[in-house]
């Protein structure tokens, strides 16, 4: 047995005892140059609480400074666009609503507007349908911005904001549930109309919500805006000016935070937005702080639109008149859930064979859409949501492509984060508000 420099031995009555000391760490650390700029590569995500879902960032770091970022996406790719080609046009709604799961109503409306444009029935959509679509798209925008506030608060260290934001959003999800039966993935807005009418109880809830939220927003601003940590984590962080935004195709609150008031609801109106009174909030700082201000202001503007939409809500049909497109039945809540109303079942099963054939053909086969292609874009909570829909004249979509703002906006991460600190990657990424379900589709 030998002894070494690091394991001295001594004889005891129990036998020989070795005392093992630390290795040659002193000499090892002494040989490392503290000023050497050794790069390390860090894999952040895809499972990481601060990356907003399954986003993976491959970071090259020099100390705490990020020199290179490569976003890696695709972890939530579910082939929704491919699946749409195997379902009829109406069934498509149930798929597209699952893309950006924080903005279901916007996804559905964009899809339905595209199908209606292909059908050439845009101006036959009833006033009530359009008003309810606007109402729900704006509630959806508020819900989405509240989740943004919640998750960004959490990522920057304001955990209580996370709890408050999700609490307020639940209020909106309750309204959705009251109307469509589902909190999320509603499948409520359909080509040609709406799955069902909005009940009075939901309208009352919306009125209550309109009174409730402004007070809460003030509380949150009181909590965050003056907070020195919040300010220092957001101001001057992840700056992207208008030139950068346009080159990278960035739209929505990020573009508006750079000072360009580009909002499709104003610049290329759809669903009658030109008839609503609201402003397009902008900021000039082009940083995370500006995006926070813009989103808070947008919630208030959306509340204004919701109020106006409620005031305009008049009784009326919720499907277009054309029976070759309108869903054949009125849904009603039965003991076993939502289904065809009993009157409708009695009619098709007992009185009118033609009604039965009509119902059967429309439900199993669906309607035909004249061939052609359209591109319809709406202002989604995250930017321009574009639907490129192609029909071959059949009952199924030939191709539907979603121009997802999350997908396009995520390209800005390298531009925002390279050269900044690692902590700013979190703030910058959060300020883009990516939803990976939408990004990967």
């Amino acid at each position: 047995m030998t002894t070494s420099e690091y394991a001295s031995a001594r004889e005891t009555t129990e036998g020989r005892v070795f005392t093992v000391t630390g290795g040659d760490w002193d000499s090892l650390t002494a040989s490392v140059d503290p000023l050497s700029n050794e790069k390390i590569v860090v894999n952040m995500g895809p499972q990481h609480p601060s990356t907003h879902g399954v986003l993976r960032l491959v970071l090259e770091l020099e100390g705490e400074t990020v020199t290179d970022v490569r976003p890696v996406i695709g972890y939530l790719h579910t082939g929704i666009e491919k699946n749409l080609e195997y379902r009829n046009w109406t069934q498509g709604v149930t798929f597209v609503t699952r893309m950006d799961y924080l903005a279901n109503m916007s996804n559905e409306t964009a899809y339905c507007l595209a199908v209606e444009k292909l059908l050439g029935i845009t101006d036959q959509i009833t006033e009530r349908v359009t008003t309810i679509r606007v109402l729900f798209m704006e509630l959806q925008r508020i819900a989405s911005h509240l989740v943004w506030l919640a998750t960004t608060g959490m990522e920057l260290g304001a955990i209580s904001m996370m709890l408050y934001g999700f609490r307020e959003r639940e209020y909106i999800l309750d309204i959705f549930e009251e109307t469509s039966g589902l909190r999320m993935n509603n499948g409520y807005i359909r080509p040609g109309g709406l799955a069902q009418d909005i009940p009075d109880s939901a309208v009352r809830k919306i009125r209550d919500f309109l009174k409730y939220l402004p007070k809460k927003l003030k509380e949150y601003e009181a909590m965050l805006s003056g907070q020195i940590i919040w300010q220092q984590r957001t101001q001057g962080v992840a700056v992207l000016d208008v030139t950068g935004c346009l080159a990278l195709g960035i739209t929505g609150p990020v573009l508006r935070s750079a000072g360009l008031p580009w909002d499709l609801r104003k610049t290329m109106p759809y669903c009658g937005y030109e008839n609503y009174e609201f402003d397009v909030p902008t900021a000039t700082t082009a940083d995370v702080w500006g995006r926070y201000l813009v989103r808070m202001a947008e919630i208030r503007e959306s509340l204004k639109i919701v109020e106006q939409a409620l005031d305009r809500l008049r009784p009326g049909p919720i499907w277009i008149e054309d029976k070759k497109i309108a869903w054949p039945s009125q849904l009603a809540l039965g003991l076993d859930g939502l289904g065809n109303s009993l009157e409708h079942v009695a009619k098709i099963m007992g009185q009118s064979m033609e009604s039965l054939i009509h119902h059967f053909k429309l439900v199993t086969e669906g309607f035909r859409v004249p061939p052609g292609q359209v591109y319809v874009a709406i202002e989604h909570p995250r930017g321009e949501l574009g639907v490129h829909a192609v029909s071959d004249g059949g009952t199924h979509p030939y191709r539907v492509h979603y121009r997802e703002p999350s997908f396009v906006n995520l390209q800005a991460i390298p531009a925002m984060a390279e050269g900044a600190l690692l902590a700013d990657v979190i703030a910058g990424g959060a300020s883009l508000d990516p939803v990976m379900g939408g990004c990967d589709r």
Binding site: H77, N83, G249, T267, K361, A377, H388, S391, V408
Partner: protein, 235 residues
């Protein structure tokens, strides 16, 4: 758009015209051996019109003439670059030859009377069976200055490359990668043309029409339901 009643459904739409077809024929058969449309209810109209999209005649209407004239002035080689102009459903589509797409985009972005600053979307459609040049790449351009939209469309056969527009519109980076991933269209001059949504070692391009949807049969309450692409389809 002009609509022509169909004659022979076995001839692809684009074959007779020598121009890229807009729409492929959908299958008329397969409904329990019935020939023709098989539709006796009149629901889907007894005779199926077979559409063909031709050059739209001048004037195009709306702002489309202004855009075309401005483009012609700024890009003298336009007549070579453009295959046809289609106005349908109040949307202007310029069919551009693949080799000219980057130049046309450059002019569209930079000319003072065009100013298409934003490339909203780039995506592709696979017209398998109806067009020799099966892949159509569509560029949705937006002019924020004039609040206009124009679609540029490029048709290429399998294996033919398209010049990348990333030099003009950096936003096309990921979108071209997605098209490569999903359709296998190769963009020359793209800085990093790798797969983006599918894993790097994936074989095949899922959005191609000859790529199966996949899926397994599901048993539900004793009955077996086939995967979606093998179910009976009412066309």
């Amino acid at each position: 758009m002009s609509i022509q009643p169909g004659t022979d459904s076995s001839v692809p739409v684009g074959a007779e015209l020598g121009a890229p077809a807009q729409t492929p024929p959908s299958p008329d058969k397969g409904m329990f051996g019935v020939k023709g449309t098989g539709d006796v209810s009149g629901f889907g109209r007894l005779a199926r019109p077979r559409p063909a999209v031709f050059d739209s005649p001048r004037p195009y209407g709306e702002y489309f003439d202004d855009v075309y004239d401005a483009l012609e002035e700024a890009y003298p080689a336009l007549s070579e670059a453009i295959e046809k102009v289609v106005v349908d459903r109040a949307e202007l589509t310029l069919h551009v030859r693949a080799e000219h797409i980057a130049e046309v985009c450059q002019v569209m972005r930079d000319d003072a009377s065009l100013r298409f600053e934003l490339c909203s979307s780039v995506d592709a459609v696979d017209y398998l069976g109806s067009d020799e040049r099966r892949f159509h790449v569509a560029y949705q351009l937006t002019s924020m200055t004039y609040r206009r939209r124009v679609r540029l469309e490029v048709a290429v056969a399998d294996g033919v490359t398209v010049p990348s527009v990333t030099q003009v519109y950096p936003t096309a980076d990921w979108q071209e990668r997605e098209i490569y991933d999903m359709f296998g269209v190769v963009f020359t001059g793209h800085p990093n043309l790798t797969r983006i949504l599918m894993p790097d070692d994936w074989e095949g391009h899922p959005q191609r029409k000859d790529y199966p949807l996949g899926g397994v049969p599901v048993e539900y309450k004793g009955a077996e339901i086939p995967p979606p692409d093998q179910r009976r389809v009412y066309q």
